[in-house]
Structures are given as structure tokens and as C-alpha cells.
Symmetry: C2
């Protein structure tokens, strides 16, 4: 058993008062934008009458999770057991660990139940399903398992119409609690109409799989779907019981381009300092490079390629034209723009913000959010959990 | 002032005994390979009679730094003030912070001197140089500064022959301690002959700049160069006083392809578990995705593209043919190969290792190394410092 990497159980730590007090690079979270994003998703999901089980893989923060589950059933989704342990320690009692379980992690999964936390795990593998059943018999652990279904992403999951689905369900027997699927391929859509189609395929795969398992006499109370694009744009979710979007909370340059939110919805940015000026080349260098921004290049496949991020001023306004981080070395981000940069406002030490391509990857470099109000005030500090 | 993100000051923590005890994904460090890499670099640098000031931006570990400085002058290089604070707390007394300083970080930099640590900082900006001098006068801080010189990388630094060089030097006055340059563009070389040329340009730029500053009556005791390729392959380092390679300690798929080391020199891998099997598509999915491997795609520009990493067996042998991580989602790595994968040896739960494209980026996701001996034994656990 590995100790979990987050150290403080409290949400708040001694906090700076203003942006200028912060050591760069660091992560900023605009609370008003976060709250607006949460409202939009709650409305989108609410109209279908299904539960919103927010995926905390993006935010990895108990403070954010409390806001995201306010007015909801209270369940959350996580992507690592370290997240599950952190959120359990923060009082969350209904946690879906949505990455395929391996037998070596069953002892750690079983430990949750002893503290009153319902941890649900997933598998698509008959041998693993049998190992989970054997573990439950041998240890008395009351595992609760969803069968992972492939709705077109072709990553994990068995096909809804496959023999393997039934084999997994039978191997789980009474431990089977339903099905889950993830339309990750919705990220490849470039129109709302395409997302609607993927959302319907996701719904249909989950419902079909659940019906087949019910036909085998297996209980399937949970029919779980979800990605940010499909949760926002599904025309209907008949038969589904819950959805699991995550990145909607923060949005990013990629999500904005596939129609998941407006540019002004982007709630998380990296605060950085100018460390070099190169007027002759129309460049500045900032202290946010690959470590601070991640090497994610997802916008390379989007209509607009933002390099390693869009460069904004310290208040988050796009006042440097279309300046982007064109190159990212470990601790250096080379910024350029198609039009002349305003070097009179870009001195060594000038604070800027960078809107990330893919906020899940960018946020992973940080252990905390500095929560901001849209101006220069830092209104709170919220922890994140990283690692496994 | 931000507390530093590493929590334990001791190097060792309760340690598992075998690979099978580890929760995946996690980071493995082969001690024998590390030691061999350190020997090779010590030999390469030693023949020039210059000091080796290892760059700890890759390893970020006091245990590794102690091995890398054994038999050397003892100075190290760092890429963040968090690293500087960590290594100072671990007893290192001569630290070069090799990323351009901003005025807001001067108080934090000055704090080192009060604990007996010599922290050297760098700038290429006349206004910042003046701010450093003003800070020293106002606070009594005894800053020690190198002028950053551009030897062709075109990231930071003033040209060796420029007026700006002299302006920065004059603004520093007695705080000027020499020059530093970094031939990061050596990573674009694809032959040893090209690296030799870049190394000579790096040397010449540093020595030229130092001579010009000396001509102004400025002291320049330090003439600092270095990257792993140029430190290994420089034909001569006449006039240089120290070199600062870093990634040589671990090596990676990219460095191997540009001639910095042999494939068997790669000392760091990610241990992962198979979580899905898809024999019909000749794929497995492992629990090391973009978070565990980073999204670095540096091998895309190398002779051979390894996707997000080369997949090895649990002992680090290439026994799955040319299997690579083709796709990396947050916690999922999709593995495929040009030849059939041995599915009889790839079950859910099977341990594999992934050799990374760019080990500096990959290691950043982890707070520790599990030190291994080449077999199944975990012989130690070493901390890393991350963040800023």
C-alpha cells in the first residue's frame, strides 16, 4: 500500500492576497466561471432526469467536487485510486473508479468499504471478473462492479452485443451492478450534429448491454455514460441512470473548439512571468514551459492550433492579439504572434496568463489552485490530489 | 513565499520489496544503469579539465545528486527555485538557478545566502540587471549573477558580440560572476559531427562573451556551458570553466537516437499494468496514459517515432517486439505493435515497463523513484521534488 501523495487534508492553506504575491508559474481558477460551467452542465443533464456523477479527474479537488455535486445525488467519478482515497477522506461516500481494475488493486479497493465508502469498480475482462468474485469469496469484500462497454471509442470495453459481455456478467454474478461506457471518441467530432450521433450510440450501447445482462438474470441498477460533449448535447438519455462528464468544469482551448463551451468559459489558466524579451524576433519567453503547461498538443487536430496555449494578460483578457506559446522547453515557453507584440507592456517580470490546450493535463503539474475573482485578488487556495 | 512541494526531507520512505508490491503506474530507476551513465559523463567532462555541474532538472533527487557530484566540485544546476530550496535543505551549498530571474523572485533568491548557500542566478536583460543591483543595494543581498548568452538556441540570452551583453554586464557591475550559455539546439543534431560543431559554437560564444566583459573590467570567473550532447561530444572546451548536462543521468528514447547513449543506458522506466486486452485489434491497454508518460512526442522528430513510449516486459527487456504506446488518454495507454503481440503473456494485471520519449517530462508526474536492480527487487525509494 502506497501512501497517497496529497499531504494536507484541509482545503485551504495560507493564502496570498493578490496575483503579484504568487510565485510563477502557478495555476489560477476563476470561481465565477467555474460556477457558471457547473450550472450549465447541471441544466443540460437535469433536463434528461439522469444523475450527474461528475468526473473529478480534471479538477482533483474536494472544494470543486463539493460545488459540482451541490444539488446532485452526491456520487463522483475518479480516475485513480489516489483520487478515490483523497475524496473519501474528504467525506465523499459514493465513488466510481472508472478505469479498468487489475487484481493487484482489489485489496486497496476493498479497504473503502470498511470505512463506509461505496467504491464501484469496472472491468471488461472475464478472467478479472472471476478474480474479483474469488477475492470477494476469499476476503469477504463486498465488491460492486460495472461491466465496461465499448460504444465506439475502441479503448476499453466489450461490445454491447458480444458474448464477452455475458461472460463478464456471469463471472461477476451478484457483484454485477450495471454497465458503464465512455464516448471518448466524441472529442473527434467537429459539429454538434456529430456529437448528438455519438451520444445516441453511447446511450444505445449502454442500454443494450444492460438489457442483455438483465436477460441473464443479473441486476444492472446502474447504466452509466458520459463525456463532456455527449453530456451537453445528447438529445435523449432514455434508459440511462447517470452521466460522468468532467472537463466541463474548467473548459479549455480544445473543448471550446469542439463546441463544449464559449471561450469566456475557460476557468483555469497558468499565471507566468516574462523572463526574456526578443523584440527583433517578435518573441518573449515566459517561465511556463512544458512542465507548467504540459506537452499536450490536442489543438493541433482542432480547427485552430494554439501551440502550447493562448497567451492572455494578467487579468485573463486577450490583449496580446493571437499570441501563443509556440515552443515549450522544460521551463521556458517561447511566445510569438502573427502581429507585433506590445513590447512596451511585456517587460521581464510582466505577469501573463496562458489558457491551456487540455486542462486535465496542464493542471496535473500543480498541487493547488489559486482561486481568483476575475481581477487581481486571490480569494482562496484549494488543494489538488495528483499521482496514483 | 510558497512552501516547497516536497514534504519529506529524508531520502527514504517505507519501501516495497518487489515489483509486484508496487501500485501502478510508478517510476522505476535502475541504479546500475544510472551509475554507468554518471561514469561515462564524468569521463567525458574530465578529459577537458572543466568542472561538471550536473543539471538536476531531470532527476530532481538528492540521492541522485549525491551520486552525480561524487568526485566532482559539488556544485549543481537547477531549473526552479523549488529545486534550489530542496537541494539546499539536503546540504548542497553551490547552486546555479539556470532560468532567467525576474525581480519578483529576488527576495526568495536572497534568502539562500543567509543560510550559507551560494545561489547563482542568470539574466540577459539590462533592466533586470539594474533591478538586481538595486535590490542588492536596498537589502544588502549579495547576489551573484551570470549573464546569459545566446549561442544559437535563440531562446534566452544576448549575442556574444552584442551591445546588450555589455549593457547587462555594466548594470550588474560587481555582481557579475561570469557568463552562461546553453546549446539546447544540439537536440536538433542528427550526427556526432553536427553536435561537435554546436559544442564548438557554444564554447566560442561563452568565451567570447567573457572576454568582452573582462575588457570592461568585469570579473567573469565562471564560464558555463552545457547540454548532454555537447558535454559528451565536445572536441575541446578551452576557456570554459564548467558544463551543465542533465538528462545523461537517465537517458531516454530521444537521447539514444541523437547519440547521447546506448539503448541499454536508459535507466528510468514507468511500471504499468495491462488493464484491457483486445486481441482482435492486436492491442492491449495499460494504466499508463498521458498522466503517467507525459504527452511529450519528441521522438516524432527523431529517426524513429515511438509514439508515447517503447513497451518492455517487467524486467525491462524488449520482449514484445516493437510494441509502443500508440495513443495516450489521461489514464489509458493504448499499446500496439507491427507484429502480433504475445497475448498469452499479456493478461489483465500483467506488469510491463515503458521507456519514455523524454524522461524529464515523464518523471515529473511522480514524487519518488523505486530503485531497482535489474531483476524484481526494489532496493530503495528516493524522493523527487516537483513544482515551483
Amino acid at each position: 500500500m502506497i501512501e497517497r501523495p496529497v499531504t494536507a487534508s484541509s482545503e485551504t492553506i495560507a493564502r496570498p492576497q493578490r496575483l503579484a504575491d504568487l510565485a510563477t508559474p502557478c495555476l489560477l481558477l476563476d470561481r465565477a466561471k467555474l460556477e457558471r460551467n457547473l450550472e450549465i452542465m447541471a441544466g443540460a443533464v437535469g433536463r434528461h432526469g439522469v444523475a450527474l456523477r461528475p468526473h473529478m479527474k480534471t479538477a482533483k479537488s474536494a472544494a470543486v467536487a463539493r460545488l459540482a455535486t451541490a444539488g446532485q445525488a452526491g456520487g463522483i467519478t475518479v480516475s485513480t485510486l489516489a483520487e478515490a482515497e483523497y475524496f473519501a477522506s474528504e467525506g465523499f461516500r459514493d465513488i466510481l473508479y472508472a478505469v479498468g481494475i487489475v487484481p493487484a488493486k482489489l485489496d486497496r479497493a476493498a479497504a473503502f468499504r470498511r470505512t463506509g465508502v461505496v467504491l464501484t469498480v469496472v472491468t471488461d475482462d472475464p478472467d478479472t471478473a472471476a478474480a474479483i468474485s474469488a477475492h470477494a469469496r476469499a476476503t469477504g469484500a463486498s465488491h460492486r462492479v460495472l461491466v465496461e462497454v465499448d460504444c465506439g471509442e475502441h479503448r476499453g470495453g466489450v461490445a454491447a452485443g458480444s458474448d464477452a459481455l455475458i461472460a463478464v456478467g456471469r463471472a461477476l454474478g451478484p457483484l454485477c451492478a450495471g454497465v458503464m461506457t465512455h464516448a471518448g471518441h466524441s472529442y473527434a467530432c467537429r459539429s454538434i450534429a456529430e456529437v448528438e450521433e455519438v451520444a445516441e450510440a453511447e446511450r444505445r450501447a449502454a442500454v443494450t448491454a444492460a438489457e442483455r445482462l438483465r436477460g441473464e438474470g443479473l441486476a444492472t441498477p446502474i447504466i452509466s455514460v458520459g463525456s463532456t460533449p455527449t453530456a451537453l448535447h445528447a438529445r435523449g438519455l432514455a434508459g440511462v441512470t447517470e452521466t460522468r462528464p468532467g472537463v466541463y468544469m474548467f473548459q479549455d482551448l480544445f473543448q471550446v473548439q469542439i463546441g463544449s463551451g464559449a471561450p469566456e468559459a475557460m476557468a483555469v489558466t497558468v499565471l507566468a512571468s516574462v523572463i526574456h524579451r526578443r523584440p527583433a524576433e517578435n518573441r518573449v519567453v515566459i517561465d511556463a514551459g512544458g512542465m507548467a503547461l504540459s506537452k499536450d498538443r490536442s489543438t493541433a487536430s482542432a480547427p485552430r492550433d494554439y501551440g502550447f496555449g493562448l497567451v492572455l494578460d494578467a487579468q485573463g483578457r486577450q490583449s496580446f492579439g493571437d499570441a501563443i506559446v509556440e515552443r515549450a522547453n522544460q521551463e521556458h515557453g517561447v511566445v510569438t504572434a502573427p502581429t507585433p507584440l506590445p513590447f512596451d507592456r511585456l517587460n521581464v517580470g510582466t505577469l501573463v496568463r496562458v489558457a491551456p490546450n487540455h486542462v486535465c493535463m496542464t493542471a496535473a503539474a500543480y498541487d493547488r489552485y489559486y482561486v481568483v475573482d476575475g481581477g487581481n485578488a486571490v480569494i482562496d487556495v484549494w488543494h489538488r490530489v495528483n499521482g496514483w
